[in-house]
Point group: C2
DNA sequence: CCTTGTTAGTTACAAAAACAACTAATACGT
DNA sequence: ACGTATTAGTTGTTTTTGTAACTAACAAGG
């Protein structure tokens, strides 16, 4: 077949990352999907608005490194769910400042807590240094 | 907005994993996509056959934790690319053993080398222990 | 002003993924 | 052998994503 040294998929970093990401993502999905019918990008948009305050779609895209069409659709979905409102910026009418509604804020508060708990649960398997090192490595890989 | 402790997206493990996985995946994609017109699942199927020898679609799905419809379509695509052949198993005619063709084998050899090099490049940013620890953590997370 | 270029955001269309339903072959219990 | 249940794999349909083209608003140079 081929000879040799023990390089297999389980040792291939992109594969490991994909598997771990999928597992983690699937685990947290039930919070925002099952409970609020949200997609992942919607959850991210909600998170940004809840965590950092009102901003435009552009701002979210820049922060989260997500393409503007995904943001656009997520914002539209969150608007129909009445989780946010759009307010056209008067000094530049192309932009719209996005504000969470009461409901949106409540959903954020709930999911924010859930996210913290979920993260803690995932990290529970590691020692403090190990976990910190893991996150540092991942951040470095993502920054490539 | 909300009060308090510094929990943001950059510290949320599922987010970090998703970002790192996406970056790594996009980086390696050019090898199998640009050069062979393959999709990710096709590359994984090719990898399994090249690395572990002929097996059925079922086997690949079990090993790679991929759904059978994805495998089915990847196999069909690899067959039209003349990278593999199907051979119905006589003792159970539902199954087909998948064998790489010369071309398939050549593509695998090429991509296998590329994968090793790519992995080495990604790991270059880390010390030996750090890298090993990273992979151990990821494997543990994927196994959840 | 008026042309040209750029930017924020949306929409339309193509590619891919997810999910469900299906076919054909085998296994099993009686 | 016969009816039912499983299993391997495929196909069809719906969501979701990716890409490109578009609209509306602004900016800058003349």
């Amino acid at each position: 077949m081929h000879n040799d040294d023990s390089f297999d998929l389980q040792g291939f970093l992109p594969y490991l990352l994909a598997q771990a990401a999928e597992t983690a993502s699937a685990g947290f999905q039930r919070h925002y999907k099952d409970r609020y019918g949200m997609l992942r990008t919607e959850w991210r948009v909600l998170f940004h608005l809840g965590r950092y305050g009102p901003m435009t779609a552009k701002d979210i895209g820049a922060r989260a490194r997500v393409h503007k069409t995904k943001i656009s659709r997520a914002v539209a979905a969150l608007e129909t769910k009445r989780f946010l409102t759009r307010n056209v910026v008067t000094r530049d009418r192309r932009q719209a400042k996005l504000d969470l509604t009461k409901n949106g804020q409540a959903a954020f508060d709930d999911l924010y807590k859930a996210a913290q708990a979920f993260d803690a649960q995932l990290m529970a398997g590691f020692s403090r240094q190990e976990g910190a090192a893991l996150k540092r490595c991942l951040a470095a890989l993502a920054a490539q």
